[in-house]
């Protein structure tokens, strides 16, 4: 926290507890204002960051899963898939998906802290404050997105290890996209946390949704030439629209054969029409905003 720490000085300059008429006692809290709401957004956001930095174990453990997927699964399977990838490293192929996945998990965990806050009572402290619920929800979503985005940055740093080039434009694209995913998923989690009151239920619910979303999204396979049922499910899955543009960005910077590009990076189509990457990102952003609005609505209803 940016500290405006008071100088400790000699203990109690004017013995505060004894004088009935000292001046600082008269703090006058200003009426609602945009500035006040922004302060609330900022402090809720800041709290997320403080809590994250205090939880070092979480920072480390959350890196385990992407490592497993990238290096263990990626390396192991590449021996099977060698022929099908036209010489492209399988780890490079799954990198965008794994990045999305780890960002997703962190984002969900951030949102889950609302459920903890409710169980431990802190939520009440926020809910009774004279600020709009929307400020609290927005602060929370931004906080979750920042924390998850930070995790994404760690993975971006590892890009070179899996054959993704460190081109500034590419890094920027990946960074922006993963931030978008982080925000949308946090909003989704916060929305769920408004209704689900117990940690176990929350975890069960999100796992039930997150895992299928991950597997259906094409994070681990190309999205063309799938059986029809899988194609339909894939196109419904919101995560598809985050993984695909990220993969396109990565592949645009790879020097590979046209055949490999066609097989591995076919792009998402709607009835044969290729969606532009920007539109895909727009779909994710729109869904994120929609879930944010629902979350705000839900929290405003809670007494």
């Amino acid at each position: 926290m940016a500290s405006t720490t008071t100088t400790r000085g000699p203990l109690a300059p004017a013995a505060p507890a004894s004088g009935p008429n000292h001046q600082i006692a008269a703090v006058r809290v200003p009426a609602s204002s945009l500035r006040g709401e922004l302060r609330a957004v900022k402090i809720v956001w800041q709290r997320e960051l403080i809590r994250f930095t205090k939880d070092r174990l979480r920072i480390v453990t959350s890196l385990v899963q992407p490592f497993l997927f990238l290096f263990v699964l990626g390396t192991g399977l590449s021996r099977l898939a060698g022929a099908g990838t036209h010489g492209v490293n399988l780890r490079t192929f799954v990198y965008p998906g794994v990045l999305c996945m780890s960002v997703m998990f962190i984002a969900i965990f951030s949102a889950a802290s609302i459920v903890w806050d409710r169980e431990f009572g802190f939520l009440r402290e926020m809910m009774v404050a004279p600020v709009r619920r929307s400020s609290l929800v927005i602060g929370k979503c931004l906080g979750g997105a920042t924390v998850a985005g930070f995790e994404g940055v760690i993975l971006i740093c590892m890009a070179g290890l899996v054959g993704v080039p460190y081109t500034p434009i590419l890094i920027l694209e990946i960074f922006a996209l993963q931030l978008l995913v982080a925000f949308a998923i946090t909003a989704f989690g916060v929305m769920a946390a408004a209704r689900v009151k117990q940690m176990q239920s929350f975890m069960a619910l999100t796992q039930m949704l997150i895992m299928p979303m991950y597997f259906l999204s094409g994070a681990l396979f190309p999205v063309s030439g799938l059986p029809q049922w899988l194609t339909i499910l894939n196109r419904i899955d919101p995560l598809t629209y985050a993984v695909d543009p990220m993969r396109r960005a990565v592949f645009a910077h790879l020097h590979i054969s046209a055949a490999a590009r066609l097989t591995l990076d076919p792009g998402v189509t709607w009835f044969g029409w290729h969606l532009p990457g920007l539109l895909e990102a727009g779909v994710v952003a729109l869904l994120g905003l929609l879930m944010l609005s629902i979350a705000i609505f839900e929290f405003s209803r809670i007494e």
Partner: protein, 344 residues
């Protein structure tokens, strides 16, 4: 506001100007959860600078009432003004003017005391230039200034409660609500919390509204409203309430309690009842009465105790049971409901 409410006659015919000055004005306030009437139309005023106590067994409607005054629960009937603002229509204005200390802790245990205070200051929009000084002032008041850098999870129950009181004062509220501020604390800590509350009363220009189900704590209040089954049964100063009881309280253990109750009625014209497992009744000058009792009752007595009127007796004289008995058979359902709704 649509439900007609039977006004609770016993309370208040306050002069209009007194109501105008009052920090808290409550009229016909009611809350219903489905079929359960948690609060059934209550009326009272709290004057500026008072320590006003709400006393009653668990499930009597204390927490529900506090929650309504704090804008956490919407009343289903009547209205309430806190610091001049309507709790239903002017929610944020009420919130800016009140400090809250709940039964259960609402601190972030992973943050330090200082971080919790700053977070509160930001949420309540305390001007930046006074945050530091104000924090030092209130933390010193509760004796936690030296511990401000410590993580809250390392604090004892009493320290947490003190920190919450300090935090509730951070934005200089006009009313501080304390919902059972000492529940779950050991007696020593309870009394130290009371010391802090009294000190803060001197240091700050503040009105305190508190609820408790500890009789001995209610004595710290300027005035007490006794609430039972959702209604205020009586409201006055502790001294006046005790004086009104007038009698000493005598409890006897006998070989045959029902025979003893009959005998008391027949020979002394005293109506006794069983409370806390003993035959209990009130008589003026209890000590002088005991020798007569032994001589004339006709039922063997194994133990006797005589006590001066306490708030317990006040409670008993108005509700017909002691607060402990009321809790033992008080509606469990109501309590559960109140919790379920009150703690979201």
């Amino acid at each position: 506001m649509s439900t007609p409410i039977v006004a609770n006659g016993a309370v208040l015919e306050a002069a209009p100007d007194a109501a105008e000055r009052a920090t808290i004005v409550v009229r016909d306030l009611a809350k219903r959860y489905g079929d359960i009437e948690a609060v059934r139309g209550i009326n009272f005023d709290v004057q500026p600078g008072e320590i006003f106590g709400f006393l009653g067994p668990n499930g009597a409607g204390k927490s529900t009432t506090i929650s309504m005054l704090c804008t956490l629960v919407k009343p289903t009937g009547g209205y309430a003004l806190v610091a001049g603002h309507d709790v239903l229509r002017d929610r944020d204005a009420v919130r800016r003017n009140i400090g809250l200390v709940f039964q259960d802790t609402t601190l972030d245990g992973y943050l330090s005391a200082e971080q919790n205070m700053r977070l509160h200051a930001e949420l309540y929009g305390v001007p930046r230039d006074v945050v530091g000084r104000r924090m030092q002032q209130v933390l010193e008041m509760v004796g936690l200034w030296e511990r401000r850098k410590s993580t809250v999870n390392t604090f004892s129950g009493g320290m947490k409660r003190r920190l919450e009181i300090a935090r509730g004062l951070m934005h200089s509220p006009r009313v501080l609500f304390l919902d059972e501020p000492t529940v779950g604390l050991d007696p020593q800590t309870r009394s130290s919390i009371w010391t802090y509350i009294r000190e803060l009363k001197v240091a700050e220009d503040i009105t305190i509204f508190m609820s408790t189900h500890y009789m001995d704590e209610a004595e710290h209040c300027g005035r007490i409203a006794i609430i039972d089954k959702g209604l205020i049964v009586v409201l006055d100063t502790p001294a006046a309430l005790k004086a009104a009881v007038g009698a000493d309280r005598v409890q006897i253990h006998t070989a045959d309690d029902s025979a003893a109750i009959v005998a008391l009625k027949e020979r002394f014209d005293i109506t006794a009842q069983i409370a806390e497992g003993a035959v209990t009744f009130g008589v003026p000058a209890g000590e002088q009465f005991v020798p007569r009792l032994f001589a004339e009752l006709g039922v063997p007595i194994s133990a006797v105790s005589v006590s001066r009127p306490s708030l317990d007796d006040v409670f008993m004289s108005h509700t017909g049971s002691t607060i402990r008995d009321a809790e033992a058979d008080g509606s469990d359902q109501l309590r559960t409901m109140a919790r379920a709704f009150g703690r979201r």
